[in-house]
Symmetry: C2
Subunit: 195 residues, 2 copies
DNA sequence: CCATCAATCTTAACACCGTAAAGATTGTAG
DNA sequence: CTACAATCTTTACGGTGTTAAGATTGATGG
């Protein structure tokens, strides 16, 4: 399939992928550089030709998972015209991603070193949040929300979605209902015609 | 102060306390059984007389921190008559606790093994959530909210508070405003007279 | 009062971990 | 074909959790 540039396979890519599948199957705690190397049939120091240390491998794995995350988020709102519906779909997709892969939440938000400056909304350092903001602001504009309250509404929305995902995947919270229902509890999404 | 039952001090208690302070000062990642033992001036296997393994020590530490957490939460609403004000104060205290001790969020919700069944609200297995629910339900009743929507409102509220705490302490989110402001974005807390 | 016992702590050993240094292998460029 | 650089292996070191065995000591009962 892919080119095998040197005497062994494309190790860098294989390390990232088996590292991710190891976390999926065995959990974050039982991840180790040496186990990943062993599963790739290389010596335990071979990874050091591709990554400075284990944190760099984890960072690369994090980027890979974030890309999958972004893919899911993008697809969820693809072609959706109603901007209010879009933000609900996006929130549901956000939560669903971590329900499908319970290990990812802890992995992503524990090891990634993400820093988001909420005082400076033009900094798009974390892609999922950037997409979330774009989609939310589009809706805020469409319903004529005063621009001064954009940031508050955005943070409230994202915190709730993020909090639900956190509780679901890290603290054994179980709930049989539809998470989407909760978004309507926010004033911005509490449409008049639904009342 | 406390009894010193055997040839050395009250090691069990000292292990828990120095373990917690180690996490506070050096971070969750650099915590280890051997370092805690060393800081207590005992051999690295002495803790095994008090804990079956390192996870049991961590669990004991978690319980201790949860008690501190509950203490802060209780004090925050002590003597507050206005139930709507109480839930805001409680949310603020929840967030403030993790702002004051940034390492605690990851420590508490990563290692504690908390399980909360949101389909069965009478299970008070996690004290902070039990207090949150009691306070919230008291407010819901006072404003005449239909009982059917209690659970939705509660989860929305707690998820948002928990999500803010998560973003603040694990993902380098910074915000100079007052977190309390966000609670009013929920329909239940969006009082008519403020509009 | 002292022998016994159980709780507590220490020493030694093991497997696993991340990492560094040195050398072997091999694709590629001059 | 020779030199070089990228890649991988071997070896070694200190740190980690855990177990097993033995030492120390507070408490108990004859």
């Amino acid at each position: 399939m892919k080119e095998k540039p040197y005497h062994h396979g494309n190790l860098r890519k294989q390390l990232i992928e088996t590292g991710i599948s190891l976390i999926n199957e065995e959990g974050v705690k039982s991840f180790s550089l040496r186990r990943v190397a062993a599963q790739c049939n290389v010596s335990h120091t071979a990874p050091y030709s591709h990554f400075k240390n284990v944190d760099e491998l984890i960072a690369a794995m994090g980027e890979h998972v974030t890309e999958q995350f972004m893919e899911k988020l993008r697809i969820s709102i693809q072609g959706e015209e109603d901007s209010s519906e879009a933000i609900s779909l996006l929130g549901q997709a956000y939560i669903d991603f971590f329900i499908e892969n319970p290990q990812y939440f802890q992995f992503l938000f524990y090891h990634s070193g993400i820093t988001i400056d909420l005082d400076n909304y033009n900094s798009d350092n974390y892609p999922p949040f950037a997409l979330f903001r774009t989609t939310a602001y589009h809706m805020f504009r469409s319903i004529g929300l005063p621009e001064a309250s954009y940031s508050h509404q955005l943070i409230a929305l994202w915190s709730m979605v993020h909090g639900i995902a956190s509780l679901l995947t890290n603290n054994g919270v179980r709930y049989s209902g539809n998470w989407r229902d909760f978004f309507s509890i926010l004033t911005v999404l509490d449409k008049e015609d639904d009342k």
